[in-house]
């Protein structure tokens, strides 16, 4: 019984850490402009829209976060194996991983922007100074929480994977969850906020991203507060739920039916989410309605 209570406590803590990690991850990637929405930042100068937006084309978020988390975990593991305290080791590991992240971010901005010289897009070095540090700060939060969560899973829950391997797995999952949830919100709602609300961006408008702010010119830093309105928290809850429920179903139900209890619990959870998703989908159809009259479409 005591074991179970401890397990549930660890599960909750890991879920909380994952929630913070997800929120920080998405905010970081939106400030730096990483992943699929970045294709528009890349495209804009070619369409004649010179801008002052960061261009952090490191790679998609899943492999990038796989690297930051695995590197942080690898260094933390190495420091722990030479008898350095675990918390200190994870902080140091995350710090070095964030250094690597920052260097990658600056080289990506310089490289992509310099290659756009033909379209008269200059390099604004003040952007590097102001934005890189902010993405690094957010990345540190994401890396530290993920590595700490992995360490908990190994030490307290007894997962067989060594720390770096586990961090690689969860880092990739973190990037996948964060980019899937957060990318449309940044890509459509923020970059194209002048386009009609409640509709996709027409393909003809591609490249015409918003370059001016309420006052002055848009800086990527402004995307931080925008991401933290919905994209960041949603990514956080998404990743938090993934980690929490994955652990919860195992910790609580694995003893039932020689392990099958956890499987059944997982299947039930999947069905529950499927029903919620279907409800959201039909709610949107009913509430928002079609863009053009349905009958006309059906006839054509």
């Amino acid at each position: 019984m005591e074991n179970l209570v401890l397990g549930i406590g660890i599960t909750a803590l890991a879920g909380a850490l994952a929630t913070v990690a997800g929120a920080a991850e998405d905010t970081e990637s939106d400030i730096g402009s990483q992943g699929d929405p970045n294709s528009q930042v890349q495209l804009a100068p070619q369409m004649g829209y010179i801008h002052r937006i960061y261009n952090k084309a490191v790679s998609g978020e899943p492999p990038a976060y796989g690297l930051w988390c695995a590197l942080g975990a690898g260094i933390a593991w190495a420091l722990m194996s030479i008898q350095i305290n675990a918390v200190l080791a994870i902080v140091l590991g995350s710090a070095i991983a964030v250094f690597v992240q920052g260097v990658y971010a600056t080289t990506a901005y310089l490289g992509r922007t310099a290659s756009l010289a033909k379209f008269e897009q200059p390099v604004y070095i003040d952007i590097i100074k102001s934005v890189t540090t902010v993405t690094m700060a957010h990345a540190f939060v994401a890396i530290f929480t993920t590595v700490a969560m992995c360490q908990l899973m190994i030490v307290a829950l007894g997962h067989p994977f060594p720390l770096p391997l586990l961090a690689l797995v969860w880092g990739i999952a973190l990037g996948a969850a964060g980019s899937a949830t957060g990318n449309p919100f940044y890509g459509k709602e923020r970059q194209y906020q002048e386009q009609k609300f409640g509709a996709g961006v027409p393909i003809s408008a591609s490249g015409n991203i918003v370059r001016y702010a309420e006052a002055g010119q848009r800086s990527s830093l402004d995307n931080g507060w925008f991401a933290s309105k919905l994209g960041g928290p949603a990514s956080g809850i998404c990743f938090g739920l993934i980690v929490f429920l994955e652990l919860w179903r195992t910790v609580l139900f694995e003893q039932i039916g020689a392990g099958w209890g956890a499987i059944i619990a997982g299947v039930v959870l999947i069905l529950v989410f499927m029903v919620i998703d279907r409800y959201i989908e039909t709610w949107a159809r009913k509430t928002y309605g079609p863009y053009v009259a349905e009958t006309e479409e059906a006839a054509s």
């Binding site: 084309a57 310089l110 010289a117 200059p122």
Partner: protein, 283 residues
């Protein structure tokens, strides 16, 4: 709407870079064997230098492959390179002193099969697919072997699985605290696969220049070396790890500065705290 991948023409021919990369990385990885010959661990950092050379070669290969348009991002090429490279490299470590050459041969075989599958079975129909994936698999295997040798001081399986841990002040042998048993390979795997795709991914565009991309490849290599050098404190002696760390930091600082200079050379303009520059034609 996606952006067309564009890359510069000209520069050094790819075959020249291939030859230099292949021989250079093999020689550097073999130089770590001086550890065994001299009974020290001070030469471990040569493994990292081998990885740097291999990564530069690999980034040029990726540029060749990706200018055909893969339909998915440039990073996928790095993933497939190291996915096959890690398998080849681990098996190759079993061949003792012949390990680097074995890694080359096995990776070439694996790359050939995967390249054939991608090109013909999956019908990508890209002329350079097979040769590119062979090259990338070799790059993946040699990079991993180099960085693993840098972390653990040796490229042989028996050394890579053996580790020691201290319990209450007493050294005991433990497989869990070795390069392989601790999954340090997972870190090296992802370090390499990002480092090999990043140079071209970050520099692509109509103004891409080969010297800038290759300089960035070297920078990514040295940056990866810094991480591995810190990890190597767990496996090799303190002095040797410090030497490796110093070499990495000096190499990184130099290449980073050079890369910034080259970016400044190629950029349209280099502005500090200036407003948006509207092109003459207007938007």
């Amino acid at each position: 709407m996606s952006v067309k991948i564009e890359a510069s023409e000209g520069g050094r021919p790819h075959n020249e870079i291939l030859g230099f990369g292949l021989i250079g990385s093999l020689v550097c990885i073999y130089l770590t064997y001086l550890n065994v010959l001299t009974g020290t661990e001070i030469f471990s950092f040569f493994g990292g230098l081998g990885a740097v050379i291999a990564l530069a070669w690999g980034s040029d290969t990726i540029k060749h492959l990706c200018s055909y348009g893969l339909g998915t991002g440039v990073p996928s090429a790095g993933m497939i390179a190291f996915g096959s490279g890690v398998i080849a490299m681990l098996f190759a470590t079993k061949f003792g002193i012949a390990a680097p050459v074995a890694a080359l041969v096995i990776a070439a075989l694996l790359g050939a099969v995967i390249g054939y599958v991608s090109d013909k079975v999956v019908s990508m129909n890209i002329p350079v697919m097979v040769i590119s994936l062979i090259e990338l698999a070799i790059v993946g295997a040699l990079t991993m072997m180099g960085l693993a040798a840098m972390a653990g001081g040796s490229f042989m399986f028996a050394d890579l699985v053996a580790g020691s841990t201290t319990v209450f002040g007493i050294e005991i042998a433990s497989y869990g605290s070795s390069v392989i048993g601790g999954s340090v390979l997972a870190v090296i795997f992802i370090l390499g696969s990002i480092a090999v795709q990043h140079p071209f991914n970050a520099c692509l565009g109509p103004g891409e220049q080969q010297d800038r991309t290759l300089m960035l490849a070297a920078e990514c290599g040295f940056l990866s070396m810094i991480g591995v050098a810190v990890i190597s404190f767990a496996f090799i002696g303190f002095g040797s790890a410090v030497v490796a760390l110093l070499v990495s930091i000096i190499g990184w600082a130099y290449t980073y500065m050079e890369y910034i200079k080259l970016s400044r050379r190629d950029a349209y303009d280099w502005l500090d705290a200036k407003p948006i520059h509207e092109p003459k034609g207007g938007a």
